[in-house]
Every structure is written in C-alpha cells, then in structure tokens.
Symmetry: C5
C-alpha cells in the first residue's frame, strides 16, 4: 500500500487534508473508508426502501460519525443541509458532479452540482468527481475535469475520481466491470492527475473476455490478480474500491479483504453499510476497519 509520505508531489493543502482523512479519522494508518450518500441523486430514492429510516441523510451522517469513518461523500445540497450539526466530527468529500439515471446513458457525462470553491467554503477535505471513462462525451467530461483539477491544485483540495467506464462503446468492449475497462480507467485517472481513484472490483466471464481488446481477451485472472493489476495501473494514485449493491456479510468481508491485501488504500462502501439497520451497520463497520488495519 502506498504511504502518504511516498507522494512527494502533493502540495501542502492536499497533504494536510489527506492526512486528516488517512490518519486522524477512520481506521488510520494511511487507510480510507468513506461512506457515500449520493445514491439518491444517481439512482433515485429506490435505495432507501428499507425497514429503518435510511432516507433521512442524518442516518448516514450519524453512522459516519459514530462508526468513525474517514469521510462522508455527498452532494452540495446534502452537505449544506445536514452537515452543520456534525461540523468537524467527520471529513466531507464533496461530490461536485452527478446526474440522475432517468435519461439514456449511452453518452454519459456528469454535470457539475458543486465546485471546488464550495468545498473550500464548507470545509470539505476532498472533492469527488465522476469521470465516465470511454464515454462518447469524453470531450465534455475531460474539459470539465480540467477546470476542477486546476481549482483543486490552487486550493489544495485532494481529488477523488470516481473512474467509471461507461457508455455504448464500453459495453461493446466487454462491459463496465471488465478488467480491460477498469484497468484503462485506473490509468486514465493516474494520467489526468487524480489523487485518489475509486474503482469497481473487476469481474470476469468468458463472454466479456471475448469482447475485450487483446491481450485482455486471453487474460483469465482471479479476482485477487485483477485487483492487484488495476491497483498497479493506478500508479501513484491511491485506490479505493466500491462495494456495489447489497451483498451478504461474507461477500462484503471477502471483497474488503481482497482489495486491502492487493494494495488498495481503502473502501467506499455505501449501500452495504447504511442499508443495514443501526447495530448491524456499526458491527460491519467495525469488521471492515479491523480488516483494513490487519493488512
């Protein structure tokens, strides 16, 4: 796992803010576990149909604070409205772009919902930017990211890139979770200047492999090997893995273990945590944090 001290290029603001998240909050020791609550924007309220009240963002806020996360990731509206009473207790990762899933997503790009200046204004410790790697709309996306990158450099705010392969062309080349696509996304994040990159754990199948570009079409790797590969492709960009939809306890734990063992800096697990009821969520949080420190 990369150490913050290895990243000589970070300016003082970025280093200070990353230190806060990697050592002063969360499991510590250079790891990151971030609780995202941006699914209401991305998916609609469908993810909140649980027996407990996870529709109210205070649930996630309380969980992030009491569970001792490294940060909570959310859009400007939720940050402004729900953060005040938790000010200083939990680092904020301000998601500054996003979209609904209603219109077609053949050529996706996430419009801005906030800005680096907003992040400074509300005291956030990082910004989150969703980059749809491979989208036919990449010109708009890269151009938009450029502005974010410039501002983030100026203000010393670390950039976490949600590097998501998406769009019609990705689907034709093995799909959004293929090793080809995620490996490419990891490298793009590194080359564009992400400080941290959020990736999905690659999945593999004979059908997908057959669609991927050579030499990926001949690579039949285990999940461990795939995770290790994309971590390496991300170079000096810290890697976080996402949790995806709700899974069993065993699956969640196994996923976390693999990712951490193969060099990830941490996790961004959302639904697998806050879709649990309070006690269960806190318990799973503790389990994950233990795994993160054990590796």
């Amino acid at each position: 796992m990369i150490k913050l001290d290895d990243l000589l290029h970070l300016n003082l603001g970025k280093r200070t803010r990353l230190h806060r998240m990697m050592y002063e909050h969360g499991p510590g020791n250079g790891t990151l576990i971030i609780l995202p609550i941006d699914q209401g924007m991305e998916h609609g309220p469908v993810d909140f149909f649980t027996d407990h009240d996870c529709m109210n963002p205070e649930y996630q806020y309380r969980l992030a604070v009491e569970g001792g996360y490294s940060g909570i990731a959310l859009h400007l509206g939720l940050a402004e409205k729900y953060a005040p009473k938790f000010a200083g207790k939990i680092p904020i990762v301000l998601k500054i772009n996003g979209k609904t899933r209603i219109p077609p997503a053949d050529e996706p790009v996430s419009p801005m919902t906030g800005s680096v200046e907003d992040a400074v204004r509300i005291g956030a410790d990082a910004i989150g930017y969703t980059l749809y790697v491979g989208s036919p709309n990449q010109h708009t996306d890269f151009t938009q990211f450029r502005k974010v990158k410039k501002d983030a450099e100026r203000y010393g705010i670390p950039i976490i890139v949600w590097a998501y392969p998406r769009g019609s062309a990705v689907e034709k080349k093995g799909g959004r979770n293929s090793l080809f696509a995620i490996d490419y996304a990891a490298r793009v994040a590194d080359e564009l200047g992400a400080d941290v990159v959020k990736l999905n754990v690659p999945e593999t199948s004979a059908k997908s492999r057959a669609m991927q570009r050579p030499p990926y079409d001949k690579l039949n790797l285990s999940t461990e090997e795939m995770v290790a590969k994309v971590v390496k492709s991300a170079g000096k960009t810290l890697v976080l893995f996402s949790g995806g939809g709700m899974a069993t306890d065993e699956e969640v734990i196994e996923r976390a273990r693999i990712c951490m063992e193969q060099g990830a800096t941490g996790l961004i697990f959302g639904r697998n945590l806050w879709q649990r009821d309070w006690d269960d969520a806190l318990k799973m949080t503790k389990t994950l944090k233990d795994i993160m420190l054990k590796v």
Copy 2:
C-alpha cells in the same frame, strides 16, 4: 411541517427573505401560499380566456395583494412592468427561467429569462428555477442551475425549484406525475441545494405503476401516502404543491388539505385562483389560508 428555525444552514439573507414570506406575508406561521403568473410564457394566452380580465397581470397582482399571499411568482418582464405600483406590498418570486410550449419537449430545458442579480435589483424575496428532472438535456439544466445556485448563495436569495419530471425518458418510466418520478425529483432538489421545492401531487394508475422502476411498480399508495412520501424525500427542502389546471372547489380544497396535513409548507396555486372572478377568487384564497393555518 419543517420550521424555519430548524434550517440552521440558511444564511442570513435567505433567512430574512424566507421569514418575510413565511411569517410577515401570507397565512403566516411558517406557511407559504404563492400566486404564480407565468402561464402566459409557459402555455401562451390560452389560460386567460375567462369572462373576467385575467389577461392583464394587474388582476393577479391585485389578487395577490388583496388576498394576502406570501408572494407572487412571475418573469422579469411582468415584474418590471407591473410591480412598481405594488412595491413592498407583496413579495416577488422572480422566475428566472422559462420556455414556451410550442417546440417539442422531448429533451426540455428552460433557458434563463432573468438572473439572481435581477432579483436583487428589483427587490425580490426569492427566485424560481424550473428544473426538468430526467430530461435528456439534464447536463445543460444542471450546469445552468449551478450558476444560479452560486449566485443565490452569494446574494442570500432563497431558491424555489419547480422540480418537474419531464422528457421522453420520464414518459417511458411511468410519466411525469408518477410517484417514481416525483419522488426522484424531490430528492434531486434536496441534493442539488434547493431551499424550497415545488412538486406536483403524484397520481397513480395501474398502467403507470407497471412502467415504473421497482419497487415503485409494487407500491399502490393513497394520495395522502404519496404526498407524505415525497415530502419526506425532499428532506430539509420546504415543499410546495402545485394546483394544476382548473378544478372544482371541492377538489381544490381537498388537495390543499391533504398536502398541508402531510407536511407540506404550502401551495403554489395559480389557475385555480385567478381563473375565478374577483369575489370567488378572494373567497377561495381565504378558504385555503384557513386550511393552511388549521393544520
């Protein structure tokens, strides 16, 4: 119903202006009843074919003042031309974007017709922004809203978002008035940073439900339950419900009662008020204000 005092995040300008509308005008006690007169832009003069002269915006202005509304919502041209003689007597909600209904609306977005600076210049107490949630043009819409949001924050002007699910993709997923669509719109408004959101009262039918995303396709709720749900999805965003086209007295009253009982902050009813002749309009205004205070 949310109290203004619960909204700790509002800056001084927003708080002052909302206080003026929620306590010093209208029914008071934290409620809002706003009279919109932007239908000439959105629908053309078709809504003004009544026996009394509602084509002349002075009719609506007089009604708003004499009826004691919390505010009147209209575009810049009408505000500049008709407000001077009513200055200070009725808060203005400046609609700052809008469109005609003539061209196709498969990928709608409402271009700017005013600005936050205009609102400051004319002494408005809020701005109104129409967001077509789910439109294939959401990139343009969100980007445009970002600028509005930034300016509104800077000038301390509350933002009322007309959160309207619209566009070809919405129609395929149950329609603009489906619970799925309005529930999503409520959450988007909350996440994007609306201060107040205007929603339609959701409607339900077997046909629409069958088209909605799970688990909405299995939800068969009463109007009361649907209203309660979307109010909850709007979180810390104050909710106003719209009145739609002309209805019977009973329907209008029933709609107002349900909305207020289920947690709404107020109403934006237009045609159902100013399409009535003078005495009838004043009487219905009083009836609605009474309902709002009774809840």
Copy 3:
C-alpha cells in the same frame, strides 16, 4: 394607446430615448413610424429590384429624414457606413441580430450582428432584436436575448423585439401569422421584458384555425378583433405592426388604420414605402402619419 407616462417602470435612459422617437421625431404624440432597411440581410437583394435606386441605403436614409420618420432600423454595417452624413437628423434603431434566408429555417435563431454597446457608441435610440418565438432553438435565442436585455437595462436603451413565431413547430400549429402564434408571441415579449414589440397583423383561415390550439381553433375573429387582442396580450409593451410585402395603396392605408384604431403605438413599414419611387413614397408617408395622428 398606451402613453409613455403610463410606463412608470422605464429608467431614465429608456424614457429619454423613447421620448425622442415618440414625440420629437415622426408623427409625434406618442406614436412611432419606423423605416426598416434590414431586408438585404434577411431576404438578399431581391427586394431592391425596382426602377428607382433603392439598393443604395442612402435612398432609405433620405426617405426617413425627409419623410420625418420616428426612426430608421438597420444593421451595424449600414448604420456605420451611411449614418454619418445624417447624424442627429433621424433616430437609429440598431438591429443587433439577423440572418440570411439561405439555410433551412426549421430551427431558426438570429445570431448577433451588433451589440447594445455598439448602439451606445453610434448614438442609436433603440436596439432591435429578432426573437423567433416557438423555434426549437429557443434555448439559444432566449439565452442570447438575456444578455441583450441585461445590457439594454444597464445602458438605458429601449428594446424593440421583432417577435416572430417561426420554426417547424409553429407551422404545425397554424402557421406564423395565425392568431394563436402571434398572440403567444406578444405575451412572450411582454414577459421577457421587451419595451416595444413588432408583430405581424394576424391572418385567419379555416385551415389554419383547425390546426391551432383550443380555444383558438374556435375563434373566428375579424382583423380588427385580432389586432385588438394581440395588442392587449402585449400588455405594457408598446406594439408596432409590420407592413409585409408590397401591397396596394388601399391595403396599406387600411392596415395602418386598423392597427392604430385598435391600440397600436405605430408601424414598421419598409417595402411598402421604399419600394415606391420618391414622390409616391413621401406621399404615402404623409398619408400614414396623418392616419396615426387622427386616431
């Protein structure tokens, strides 16, 4: 007819310039007769195929000055090149957007050919903006108009909006000269903040009515009634009517009479004046001015 003194909202610059055109030039008494010479841009030189030399803009300039018009309307190039020798003798209405008619006009929008600052620089008394109401390109058009409106407000220059229903959607709903379309255009100009609006005289036919939105499909009005209706829809926006292509003396006079009797502030007649030879043009000018003062 609206009096300038009724328009309390106009700022000092606008009021001064309108006063110059409405009382110090032209027929006076609050009327406006403006000579447009922008047809070379909009139609090409086809309108100049007459026996006398109306291709040379000096013809129109001389006519405007000697005929005693309220103003001459033209694009920046013609203003800069031909105005110097007539400086101060005739108010200039600077057309600041326009287009050729060569490419398809299904989704029209008129790009800028000048600016409000140009109008200030050359001493113009108003600017002219062509708004294609109902065009599928209305987002571009409204956005462009916003900038013009903002600048005009700042510099105190009155805005005359050429409010033309145009584009594929308009044609499907009764056509550009239908009452539905022109009535809508009048209201849009009022809501967007035009100071003066130029409209075509509505035309009616059973075929067009059948295509118009209810209740327009049932309205079978006389020209007088249609003119009165759109003047009313324009609210506090002064209305000028256009002359259209070359017509007989009787038609021109009749059109002017009807428009003025039904509340118009004036006329923008071009081809029907400068396509006449010198003496005839001056004579018709006098006839029209007499009609305008008689009403």
Copy 4:
C-alpha cells in the same frame, strides 16, 4: 470606384492602414492587389506541384515584395515565420480564420487561426475573415465574426471579408458562383460591417439560373453586368475579386479588366500569379497593375 476619402465612417487606424495599402504600396491610386498564400491550409499542398519552388512561402513573399503588391494575405504561422526578413516591405493581411478541405463542407464555418490582437502584434495592416454566407452554420460564423468586428473596430484594423456562399443550401439555389449567391454575399458583407469584401466573379448558366430565386432566375446578364451588380450591392464596402484556379494569360487579363472597369477596387489573385515561374509572375503582375491604373 469608391475613393478612400468617400468613406467618412472609417476611424483613424483603419484609414491609416488602408491608405498604406491603397496608396503607398501596390499600384496606388486607391487600388489594391493582394497576393494570397493561404491555399496550403485551404486546399493542402496540391497547389504547389509546379516546376518552381512555390511550396516555400518565401517564393510568394519575394514575389509580393519585388512585384510591389498592396499586401500579402496569409495565416499566423506563415506570417510569424516568414515575415521577419521582409518586415516593413510589404503590408500583411492576416487571415485569422481558415480550415482544411478534408472533412465534409455541407455546413462550413472557418475556425479562428489567429486574432485581431495577433494582427496588431505582428504589425499587419488588415485582417482577413472568411464568412461562409448561407451556411447552415451561420449562427456560429456570425457570432465569431462579431467578436472580430468588435476587436477590429477597437484596434483600427480594416476587415477584409472573404464572402463565400457555401453549404448545402447554397448549392440547391444555384451554386456558390451564381449571381444570386454572390449578390447576396456582397450585401451581407456590407450590412455586417466589412470594410473590404472579396468576391468571386459570378458565373452564369441556364441550369444554375433555373435554380435561383426570382427574379434572379430571369436575369441573364453578361459578366460585365454581373460584376457591376455585385459591386453595387456591396455598397460602401470596397470590392476585390478573386482569381480562382490557374487560367490562361488572356483569361486572367480579361478578368482583371472587367472587374476594374466595373468598379472593383482591386484583385486578390494567387494561384494565377505564384504558380507561374519567377519571370512570368513578375510580368503578369506588371500587366495587372497597369490595367488597374488605366481604369
């Protein structure tokens, strides 16, 4: 032929620079002969396949200087790289937009390759702007031109508009060299505020006429008459005619004679000059200059 002294509207910078080109360089006496070397951009190196070395822009530079031209027209790269050793010896017309001919040209617009500020910085005496009159992309083109016009006015740099009818709509209405198209282009240049316009000599054929708008479809004019007509349509804009592809000595001379006799201010002939070898090019230059002074 229009005299510079007739153009009262030109500001001091424009007048000074035009004077330099019209009286101090070239044939003088108010004429202009400009050598263009922008064909490498517009056509690719195909025009340079001659026995002598016309690929090296120094050939054209030497020809312009030794032949005593009024100016040399070229893009920024060529100006910066080849002008230094000829500084002060030949006025530069900086072409500030251009394009390759590789992609389809159904909706052409020439992107910027330089700016008015570049023209000031390198000491150019005019800028050249290519306007594709009638292109479906005219909104982009006009908007881009607006910025150029504004800057040129501010810096006192004359604008030479290459007014080229182009695009699918032009081809359907008689073609790019039809009288209809060029006549329209001349007028558009005048209305948009060109100081000088470069036009092609109109061509005529029964087939093209049949496609042109009335009354052009009935006009069967000689070349002399067509040239005279478009010069008149250009109004107070000085007219230069282009030479087109390589022609015989007789054709080149005849073309020059007709243009000058019918009121043109000058010529922009490129390939017909620099595709000739050195002695021939100088000789033809002298012949053309003699014709220009004789008229």
Copy 5:
C-alpha cells in the same frame, strides 16, 4: 536540417527552451530525441504487457534520464507524480490534450488535460498538442489550439504539434498514413504556427494512392522521397517522426536513418524503446543517437 539560428521569429522564451532540448540534452547539435509515455491514455495499458515493468512510469523516466534524451513527453498526472525525483535532469514536454481510444473516433478531437500555465508551473520546456487534421470536428480542435497558441506565445513555451490526420473523411481519401494526408498535416502545422511538428512516416500502397486527391494519386514515391517531401511541406517547423508500434531493430534503425537523412530534426520513439528491456533499450537509444549525430 533547419538550425535553431535560422528561426529568427522565435521569442526569447521559446529559443531558450528549445536550446535546452536541442543542445544541452539529448544527442545535441540541434537534434531532438523525445521519449513519449502517453500511450496509457491513448491506448490503455495494453502497451505495457511486457516482461519488464514498463507499466510503472518510473521505467520511462529512468530511461529518459539515463539514456540522455532531449525530453520526455507525458500528461500532467504523470508529470506531477513522477517528475519530482528527476527534476532538472530531463526536459519535460507536457502533453496538454489527449483522449482514450474507447469511444468511436470518426470525428475525433483531443480534449485538454493540462494547460500552458501548467507547463510553466512544473518547469516544462515544451508543450505537446495533438491536432487531428481533417477531423469533422476541426472547428473545435482549431479553436482549442488557438487558445494554446496564444498562451504559448505569451509564456515563451515551444509548441510541438502531434499532427495526426484522422477521422472518417481522412480514411476515405487514402488513410491516415497516406502521403496526401501527412503532407497536408505538415503544412497545416506550419500555417497554424507550430514550432515543432510530429508526423508519422508516410506509407504507400496502390490502394491508398487510388483514393488520394490528384496529383497524389499519381505519385509513387519511395519512403525517402515521401519523408523529404513532408519535411519540406512543414517549412520552418522542425519535424520529428514517430516510431509507431514495436518493430525489429533493423526497421527501427532504418526508419531513424531515413528520417534524419531527409531533413528531420529528430524522433519521438516510444514503444520501440521502452518496450525493450533495460539493457536493450539503452543500447538502442545509443544507436539512434549515433545515427542522429552522424547525419
């Protein structure tokens, strides 16, 4: 080969930085050999599937430093992250635009990934800009380049243009590596104001020639002749040739020899160097440098 001293037009900043690369680093004597490591962005990690660890950009950095290159070319992310420990040891060519190869490339344009200001900030000695000559998107590309060119002029940073013929129209006219296309690209770079241009070595085939524009369709040149021709077409723009995909030692050496003998200033060879293992890569580097100095 062009000498730096022949390029009188270069400003002091450009001259200083080019001198550093052409005389103080690399083979010297006015040559340039640049190691590019932007393939991860352009192709994905597929180029890094070798036995040695060329996925880690430190490999290329070490090779560039120890091999004594004139510069290393890469995007901002890699520059920021990997350059610090090599600061001052190797000139940086900051690639400031780029794209992934995932979406369709019929109308390519490379969005910005950095800026000229970034180049100044990180101490780069040149910027690299990819221009897709002939792309249907050339308006966006040229416009974007204009901004880069303006900034580069202001800051005195040399511009290396990767002039790549691309897009559907290029493919129809003989293909991206045809003499027609590359010759055109060389000229466009010269006219737009590139300081250095990177070109592919043209390839020829009967099939491609048949598709090219006259007179290219009749030109059957040797590689030497084609290289000489495009170098000449680039005029006063220094020419670098690219290496393309992995080739045999003989092919690489032959390519380098031909290019240098026909007037190129240098080479940008990437995969043919860093896909070799360490000793082999250093050896080939030395071989190439010897060839460059011999010519």
